[in-house]
């Protein structure tokens, strides 16, 4: 075990897999010698050479197009999009190419080896072009997997699993935790399962569901609720697509209440999909309407970042409303 922050855990995972499999190649804007604007790819070029860790020109559609080609050839590309906010030039390559490569060719060709890493989320004074959480856009796209870790331990295990999974994975990293989150991380190789939620804390009165950096918000809100004698179960979804319906429904059937929290705007956010599924599968178990605590339906604001965020206070209030329904 070693103490690592989230960036070090990502870096460690990349080293682990690059040492094992020479087909793994890491690239994106500034990821080469400089090691990425957040330093997630530090020293990879020194260790593995320019052929396997390199800068690309500034073209997100090119990066993902290139990565699709590499993956279809049999290489294992780990492409970085510098900010989730800048993934949209690559939207066509991801939605029409990455996600449909295997299907359209009847399984003859696939880009299953592809992993796209991108930092997402707010809380870093980044305004609307350095703070977005675009997971719901991609959750609407069959053929992709979407994975979001909440801490360094999760990041290493989930990233290794994502790189080795034979499906294209969009791996979204909560950038406000990059240096803020530190935990014990095994130096050895390990994987955490994709498509499986993780119960962070057991409880009996309400299920709090979230992912990524919002898990610590849920933990803070649960502590506030505990003072009122409310027992919260906290679930980290970890995979947005496909998502672990069984784990969520099992918890909701036990607690009878569900609150979903995400940073992205409320309308059309992934909470909507979860709420629709849970009311379908757990209708008679629900004691109260499913609560959503999300970002506002506005662009991510800079000066009003604190007010925008679905923080522990908003979450705590929603817990009380749900309990008192």
């Amino acid at each position: 075990m070693a103490k690592m922050n989230l960036l070090q855990a990502i870096n460690n995972a990349l080293i682990t897999v690059m040492e094992q499999d020479e087909r793994v190649m890491v690239f994106g804007e500034d990821v080469g010698h400089f090691g990425g604007v957040f330093r997630a790819t530090s020293h990879l070029q020194e260790k593995f050479g320019k052929g396997r860790c390199f800068n690309t020109p500034l073209t997100e559609q090119g990066i993902i197009g290139f990565a699709n080609g590499m993956a279809s050839q049999g290489s294992v590309p780990v492409a970085e999009i510098q900010f989730g906010d800048y993934i949209f030039p690559a939207f066509d390559q991801i939605v029409n190419e990455t996600a449909k490569f295997r299907y359209r060719s009847g399984g003859q060709f696939s880009v299953g080896t592809l992993t796209i890493r991108t930092p997402y989320g707010g809380g870093i004074a980044g305004g609307h072009y350095h703070s977005q959480s675009p997971e719901a856009f991609f959750a609407h796209c069959p053929g992709l997997k979407i994975v979001i870790p909440r801490n360094p331990y999760q990041a290493k295990g989930l990233l290794l699993a994502s790189i080795r999974d034979d499906n294209p994975v969009l791996f979204m990293e909560p950038k406000r935790l990059y240096r803020a989150s530190v935990s014990d991380v095994p130096e050895d190789d390990y994987e955490l399962p994709l498509g499986k939620a993780d119960t962070v804390q057991e409880g009996s009165d309400i299920t709090l569901l979230g992912w990524g950096a919002q898990i610590e918000i849920l933990q803070k809100a649960a502590e506030m609720a505990l003072d009122d004698g409310v027992s919260c179960e906290i679930i980290d979804l970890r995979s947005i697509l496909p998502w672990d319906v069984d784990a969520v429904c099992e918890s909701v059937m036990k607690t009878g209440r569900l609150l979903i929290n995400h940073e992205a705007p409320q309308t059309g956010g992934f909470a909507s999909e979860i709420a629709a599924t849970v009311q379908d599968k757990c209708f008679l178990y629900l004691e109260a309407p499913i609560a959503r605590v999300c970002g506002l339906d506005t662009p991510y604001p800079l000066a009003h970042e604190k007010e925008y965020m679905p923080d522990q206070f908003k979450t705590y209030e929603a817990i009380k409303r749900t309990l008192n329904y």
Binding site: R23, M25, H33, G51, R52, F54, T56, P57, T59, Q61, G62, I64, G65, F66, A67, N68, G69, M70, A71, S72, Q73, G74, S75, P77, P89, D92, Q93, N96, E97, K100, F101, R102, Y103, R104, S105, G106, G107, Q108, F109, S110, G112, P142, G143, K145, D166, N167, G195, P242, V245, D246
Partner: protein, 395 residues
């Protein structure tokens, strides 16, 4: 760390110096004259009789296939078709200059390259009838072929997406130490997509052994080339990206062959991209969904009919003593019969069973797709007449 200087190699001027179109001459390689004779200064590429005949026969075959399939679409037997009439030399002669190990990433008008690789009439038909014999499992509109054993990447409708992919594929080939390159076909219209610029720039910067082969056929559906770009064709862009570039007469099979052969050698030896702009003309409609009389004149088409690549090559083969008129007639007749026979067989083959609606989305079928499939099957069983293609096989 090495110092970098982006001014290195930049000369200085003391007057405003304007560079514009026409200052750089990009000539078009032409080996055969329209009458099929060699240009005086031209050097005939090294090509044996077998290869030359195979190029010629493939072009004839594709013309027959195109004619018959347009007919089949008009009869309502397939939903869509897209012919390559007049452009056969561009795809066939370029494919002939490659190794079978080279990956072909095409747009959608390169059936000639696919046929040259060995795709059979039956394979063409199975794809166009979306039946269960098609390895792509009937998942795409007609003409979106793909065949892994032939190293022919499954075609995608969105334009230009294959261009940066080809750069990446070629990079992978280089890193894996394969003695192979990638060729990427596209039209001059697709070269307006952002993916073109991304793909060329990345290939140049990252030293990818890839040939970008542009069929500049004058039209993107109805939009003529002069409403598509103002520069000197597509070739001039290669220079801008630092990509070695050749412009070639796309209706001259020997020129296309010679250019592609050399491009392949350069790409492989120097680990770099090469852009080929083949000047040709889309005598066909864009697809069976449009009618060119609405946007161009008969006279314009006739001018290009006179430059027909098949006629041109026939004359050259004759001059070499390699042309057998009787055998050619037989070949055309046999191709027609083969196409009709395969068409009749393939159109009767079932589409894939309903279970295949959820396969290949992921490596395995995840829980939610299993659930959706089960619900769908129950529904089909309830309304079998509404889903006649699959209901008989639903258990």
């Amino acid at each position: 760390m090495k110092d970098r200087n982006h001014l290195a190699g930049v000369s200085t001027t003391h007057q405003v110096h304007i560079i514009e179109n026409g200052l750089i001459d990009i000539p078009m390689l032409q080996i055969l004259q329209p009458d099929g004779s060699l240009h005086d200064e031209a050097v005939e590429p090294e090509i044996d009789r077998e290869t030359a005949t195979r190029i010629y026969d493939t072009m004839e075959y594709i013309r027959v296939l195109d004619e018959r399939m347009i007919g089949a679409q008009r009869q309502g037997r397939i939903s869509f078709y897209l012919a390559s009439t007049g452009e056969e030399a561009a795809s066939v002669a370029s494919a002939a200059a490659l190794s079978d190990k080279d990956m072909i990433m095409s747009q959608y008008r390169e059936q000639g390259a696919l046929a040259y690789r060995g795709y059979t009439t039956t394979q063409f038909m199975n794809q166009m009838f979306s039946n269960q014999e098609d390895p792509n499992k009937g998942r795409q509109m007609p003409i979106h072929y793909g065949d892994k054993p032939l190293n022919f990447m499954t075609i995608s409708s969105p334009l230009g997406t294959q261009i940066p992919q080809a750069s990446g594929y070629a990079y992978g080939q280089k890193m894996a130490g394969n003695e192979a390159i990638t060729i990427c076909y596209f039209g001059e219209g697709a070269a307006s997509e952002g993916d073109f610029h991304a793909g060329l720039n990345m290939a140049a910067v990252l030293n990818c052994p890839v040939i970008f082969f542009c069929r500049n056929n004058g039209y993107a559906i109805s939009t003529p080339a002069d409403e598509q770009f103002a520069g000197d064709g597509i070739a001039s862009r290669g220079i801008g990206y630092g990509v070695k570039t050749i412009r070639v007469d796309g209706n001259d099979p020997l020129a296309v062959y010679a250019a592609t052969k050399q491009a392949r050698e350069i790409a492989l030896k120097e680990n770099c991209p090469v852009l080929i702009e083949a000047m040709t003309y889309r005598l066909a409609a864009h697809s069976t969904s449009d009618d060119p009389t609405g946007y161009r004149s008969r006279e314009e088409e006739d001018k290009w009919r006179a430059k027909d690549p098949i006629q041109r090559m026939a004359k050259w083969l004759t001059s070499k003593g390699w042309y057998d008129e009787e055998a050619n007639k037989k070949l055309i007749e046999k191709s027609r019969q083969d196409v009709l026979a395969a068409l009749k067989t393939s159109e009767k083959v079932d589409i894939c069973p309903i279970e295949d609606i959820v396969t290949d989305v992921y490596d395995d079928v995840p829980w939610h797709l299993k659930e959706q499939l089960d619900a769908l099957k129950s529904h089909i069983k309830k309304y079998p007449d509404a889903y006649p293609k699959t209901s008989g096989r639903v258990k």
